[in-house]
Symmetry: C2
Subunit: 179 residues, 2 copies
DNA sequence: GAATTCATGTAACTTGTTACATGATTTA
DNA sequence: TAAATCATGTAACAAGTTACATGAATTC
């Protein structure tokens, strides 16, 4: 359900196509709520069935026609209802394949596990760079009153990435101590 | 798929019922890979279809009969194959409702958001206590060669919980500065 | 010449969630 | 006496993933 509300929320800033919404995800909430394009199109369909959003076709010459969605009054009300009610889950849901593999690390060559952890570290360093760039973009947004909140959620992604990185470093250190 | 491998991995330590496996999850990998009982039963079914595990019924008098699963030789090989291959996702997948709500925080009363964040902090403090207790249990396990790895994955959950907690505190501080 | 971007989706499949159903025993 | 624990699942639904299909324009 949260994904639909995320889409509604983004549409409350401006009208967008499914493709635009996907880009917005990738440039802001991806790190805390990733979504596939196919999922977004599907949800837009059901949001339109419920009349929480409307769409119009904007023909283009050189590109495929744009199907532009806008949030309805009903949609705005439902969004605010969701935002104001006390959430069931304060906690994030994490599914962490590397931590799971590490759990079974005694069945793996130490060197192999260390290699995997080093690759994790590289990936996370890139993530941190990407999040820095994203933060810079947000700092230049014309949505002045939103800026702080957008940076808050980005910061959450940042902190999680940092935690993952330092975790991997600590694991490598301990593994090398005992080898 | 990872869930099936997690189940296989746990069964490689000892034979268990679905219910036992659920308890193992809750006492170890829950914070990095949560699972519902119904999911575990379903996966055990398909693992048995593939003959990666076998089961036997152990009748009980006062309790319902136990259906005890054990990993097969084939299952062990498939598990090790999974563990040894380079993972596609080094990164954890996070879906974080509170961070998403915070993204749209400009549409909420500041006091309301602060209240939600404070509840998150309370919940996370409890999580940290629970993880401390879990770590103590793991330190007493007779599985000596596994201990370090089990503590590694627990530590990952711990670090993420800490990150979430300090994030919420920082957000509250900034919100109170600007109000 | 190859890869990326823009732009639409659909279909099939896999996972995750919630509710239902049963029922004795033990602990608070 | 109410709630938790042990122990089995099934069914229905919601959400997430991957593959397929199309195709021009632009950038490397």
């Amino acid at each position: 359900m949260s994904l639909s509300y995320a889409i509604l929320g983004l549409l409350s800033y401006e009208d967008m196509t499914g493709y635009d919404i996907k880009s917005s995800f990738d440039n802001s909430i991806q790190c805390i709520w990733p979504a596939h394009l196919s999922q977004i199109y599907r949800d837009l369909g059901s949001l339109e069935d419920k009349e929480w959003v409307h769409s119009r076709i904007e023909p283009q010459e050189t590109r495929p026609d744009r199907k532009v969605y806008s949030i309805s009054e009903l949609g705005k009300r439902e969004f605010l209802k969701w935002l104001n009610k006390m959430p069931k889950n304060f906690s994030s849901v994490v599914r962490d394949e590397m931590a799971l593999r590490t759990f079974f690390g005694s069945k793996l060559e130490k060197e192999e596990l260390i290699l995997h952890l080093k690759m994790l570290i590289n990936e996370k360093k890139e993530t941190l760079l990407f999040l820095d760039e994203t933060a810079e973009k947000i700092k230049n947004t014309p949505y002045e009153s939103e800026k702080m909140y957008w940076l808050f959620s980005l910061r959450k992604g940042y902190k999680i990435a940092e935690a993952e990185l330092s975790w991997a470093e600590e694991c490598i250190n301990e593994l090398q101590k005992t080898s």
